[in-house]
Amino acid sequence: MPEYHWVGRPIPRLDAREKVTGTLKYNNDLEFPNMLFGKAVRSPYPHALIKDIDVGKAEKLKGVVKVLTYKDIPGLNGYGILIQDQPVLAEDKVRFIGEPVALVLAESQALALEGAKQVDVKYEVLPVVDDVWAAIYDLPAKVHQEGNILLHTHIKNGNPEEVWSRAAAVVENVYKTSRQLHGYLETEAGVGLVENGNITVYCGSHYPHRDLIQIARVLDLPVEKIRVNSRAVGGGFGGKDEVTLQIQLALAAWKTGCPVKIVHTREESILTSLKRHPMIVKMKTAVDGQGMLLANKVEIYADTGAYASLGGPVINLAVEHACGAYRVPNAEIDGYCVYTNNGVSGAMRGFGVNQVTLAMETQMDLLAQKVGLDRLKIRKRNALQTGDITPLGNKAIGAMGTLAALEVAENCPEWQEAETWKQQSLHLRKKRGVGVAASIQGVGLGKGLPDDAKAEIEYLADGKFRVAVGTPEVGQGNITALSQIAAEALGCDIHKIILINGDTGLAPDSGSSTASRSIYAAGNAIIDAAKKMKELLKENVKPQDYPIMAKGYFHFPVAEKGIEGAFGLPHCIFSSMVHLAMVEVDTLTGTVEVKKIVAVPDAGRVINLQGLESQCEGGALMGLGYALLENVIMQDGRMLTPNLSTYLMPSALDVPEMRTIPSESVPEPTGPFGAKGIGEAVCVPVTAAITNAIFDAIGRPVTQIPATPERIYRLLHPDLE
C-alpha cells in the first residue's frame, strides 16, 4: 500500500471537543430576538377525510400569533424526495396518526401547545389499511387515489424455474422484519428566519442543497432566496434525509416575518419520523452439490406507510441486494412497495439491504447445512468478484472485497476457535453459537440519480485552507476524514484545514451525506480541488491575490446500462462487510446474550481507523438492536410503542465485546486514496450474524426479527400455545 502522511492516521475527531464539552450549538440551542414557537396540530386518526378546520378559537388566544393551514401555502402543498405526495399541512385527507394538519405559531412553547389544543378539526373516519397483504388483496380502502401499490419492480435474469429439479438442495422460507426507529439523540428541531427578504433554515439534514428545492417548491420562491444550515446534527441514520421540519420552518418564518423555532418532543419524533420498512421476504434458493448457488427466487413486500418518501428506491435497493454478496446465475426478484396507514417508512442506514440480507444469509446457512459445507466456505465459494456478472445481469465493475473480508474473518481466532468456545459454556442450559454473515452495499445513489460532488478550496492570507463541501457531518465523522483527505491532497498540516460543510450558504453542492457516499464523493471532489490549488500555488502568489480559490468536481461513476424496469439500478461501487457474532442462548427463558461481535469492513483504504472503529461499533449495536429488540408495533394504524420505555433499544449493559479488523487488501481504484463508503454496511450483516449464531446454538433458523426471548423460546418449544 502507498505511504501517506494523513490518510490512515487515527486522528482524534476534530469536532469531539465542542461536542463533548457542550459548546456546539444544536438547533434547539439557537435563540433569536422575537422568536416564535411552532406546534403542529396532528391527526388522531390513521385514515380520515378532513371535513373542516376551524382555527378561530386558537387564533384568538393571547400569545398565539398565527395558525397556518394548507390555505397558507403559496406553492405546491407537497414534498417528497422523488414523489411529492406528502402534504406539508393536510388539506382534504389524513393518512397516518400524527400527520400535521395545522401549525400554531405562538410566543412560547406552552402557548403554542395550548393553541394547538384549540384548533378544531372535523374528520370523517375511513377504513384503515394496516397490513401489506390487505392493502394489495383485500383493499379495505385506497390510501392514495392511484391505489396501494407505490411500486412493483420485477427483474428476471436466467430462469430459476428450470433449476429447482436439478439442484442438490433447495431451501424455501418466509422472513419477516420489524419497523425500526432511527433513534437519533437529537429529535427533529430547527429555526427558520427571514433576513433581508431571504430565508435561512437551521435544521439537521442529510442533504441541505436538496432541501432548498423542496422548500422553494412549496413557498414558490427561487432557491437563491433560501439557505439551509445543517452544521450541527445530533444523529440522522437516514432519518433526516427526507425533509423533517425544514418546510414548516421556512413557511412559518416567511408568513410571520419572525424567527420560528420548532422542536419535536421525543414522542412526536417517534410518532412522525420515518422508519425502516418492515418487509416480508419470500425466498427460494438452490445450490448444486458443491454449494454453488444456482438460483434465487425472491418476493419482497415492503410496508412503506402513508407516503412515498424514498420507499421506491429502498425497495429497489432491496431488489438489487436480494441475492446478497453472491453470484447467482438465475434470479427472479419481485419487489412490492405498498402504501398503508402505518406512519411513513423511508431511508434508514442500510436502505432495504438489511432486510434482504437477513433472508439471504439465513438461506446460506440452511444451504450449507443441506450440502454439508462449512458456512464460511460456502460464502467464499459464491462471493461476487470484480468482473463477475451480478444476479441482475450486469457486470460488477467496482472493487469487490467480499472474498478478502471473508478470508480475514475465517482466519481470526474467534472463528478458528469457535467450536472450542461453544463447548466452554458454563451451564448446560445455556447453549452457545457462532454466526457469520456477509453483505455488499451499493455506494452512492445509483444510476440516473444526481450523485456528483463539488468542492471549493480557498487559500487564505494566514496560510490556512478553507475547504468547503455540502455534505453535512451527521455524526459519522466526515469532518475529520475529509480534513485528512484535504491535508493529504494539499500536502499541508491538518490544522491548516478549516473544513466547512452542511451549509448551502457557505459550501457548494456535494450531494448528500447518505448512501455511504460522503467520504467517497466529497473526498474525491476535494482531491480534484486540491490538485488545482497546488497548480495555482506553483505560481508566485502576491498578497493582493488572496484568497485564492480552486473548485473541484467529482463525476460519480455510473453503469453504462441501467437495469430495465428498476430505477436507480445498478450501482457501480460496493463496499463489503462481514460480521461474526458469538451468542449464548438461555434455553430456560429464550434470552439471547451477544458475547462478542467481530466486524470485518472492506472499506478500501482506511482514512481514519478510530473513526472506522466507532462506525463499526455503533453500527453493530444498531444491527444488534434490530436483531433482538427493536420494533415499532402498530395495531389498526396506532402505535403501541410511543416512547423509549416501550420501544427498546440496546442499553449500555447490552453491549458486547466488539472488535474491528479492517480488510484493506482491495482498495477501490476510483476512491479517494482507495477508500470507499462504509457508514451503512457496518450495521447490515451483523443482524444475520446474530440470528445465524442463534441458529448455530439451538439448531433452528430465526426467520422473524426481533428475536425476542419469547420468539426464541417458541422456536425451542414449538408446541407452546
Partner: protein, 289 residues
Amino acid sequence: MEILTPRGLEEALKLRSKYPEAVLWAGGTDLMVHIKEKRLKEPPLGIYLGKVPLNHITDSDNMLHIGTGCTHAQISASPVIQTKAGALAMACKAIGSPQIRQMGTLGGNLGTASPAGDTLPALVSLGASLILQSLQGKREMSVEKFLLGPGQTALSPFEIITEVKIPCQRPNESSFFRKLGARNALAISLASISGRVTWHEDGLGFSAVSLAFGSVSPTVLSVREAAEILSVPIIDNAVLEQAAKKVKEACKPITDIRASANYRREIAGNLLLEQIISLLESKRGGCDA
C-alpha cells in the same frame, strides 16, 4: 401542583391527615412518568416526602428495619441488607437504571404497587411487614396483605408507610431474586421470582421455602403448593418439575406488547427451576446444569 414539603415525620403525618386527597411521593420516578403520560391527572396538591428522615437501615433482635425513604441504590449497596435480606438487595439492583435507583425509594415501589414492581416479590418472599403510621398511631401489616391489586393497597388516606421490617436471614438460609426483562437495564420485568429457603442440614434440600412471583398476576403471587413441594430433604428432578408445574398452574398473567400470557407462565416455572438449581449448585460448589 402545589407541593408541601414536610421536614419531619410528625409534620408529614399532620399534613397527610389534613390533606388526605394529596398525592404522596419521594423519588417521583413513577409519579412524574404517570403524569407526563397522562395515566394520572396532575393532582392539585402533593406531599413531597423526600425531606422526611426515613432512610434508616438498622438490625436489632434479628429484625431488619428499613426506612421507606431509602433509595434502591442505598439498599442494594447496604452490606447488612446484602447478607440479611439478600433478595431485596438483588431486587433493588435490578430496578431501572442507576439514575432511577438513585431517586426511587422502597416506599414508592410499595405505594405504586405495580404488578411488575421489582421489590415486591422480594419483600413477600422474605416475609416482610410494613409499619403504616398516622396521627392515630401505628399498625403493622404483612406486605402480602398490603398489596390488594394493581395500584391498590391497604394504605388508608391518613397513613404513610414509614418502615419495612424483615426477619433477618439466618446462616442456614438463602434468598434469591431474579428478573427477566427484554434487555439488561431499564426494562419492565416479563416475569420475576424471589425466594427464601431454609436449608436441610445435608444441603441437598430445604426444610422451609417461601416463593413469590412478579408480573404474572395482578399482584405478587406466592405459590405455597410449590414451596411445600420443595420443602423436602432431597430435591431431585421430579420434585423440581412438580414444583414448576404448580407455579405454571398458579400464574394468572396477561398478554401485552412485551410478552404473551402463555410465555410468562412458562417462564415463571422455568425461573424457579433455574434458581433452585443454581442454589443447589452453589451449595455443591459445582456448576453443571
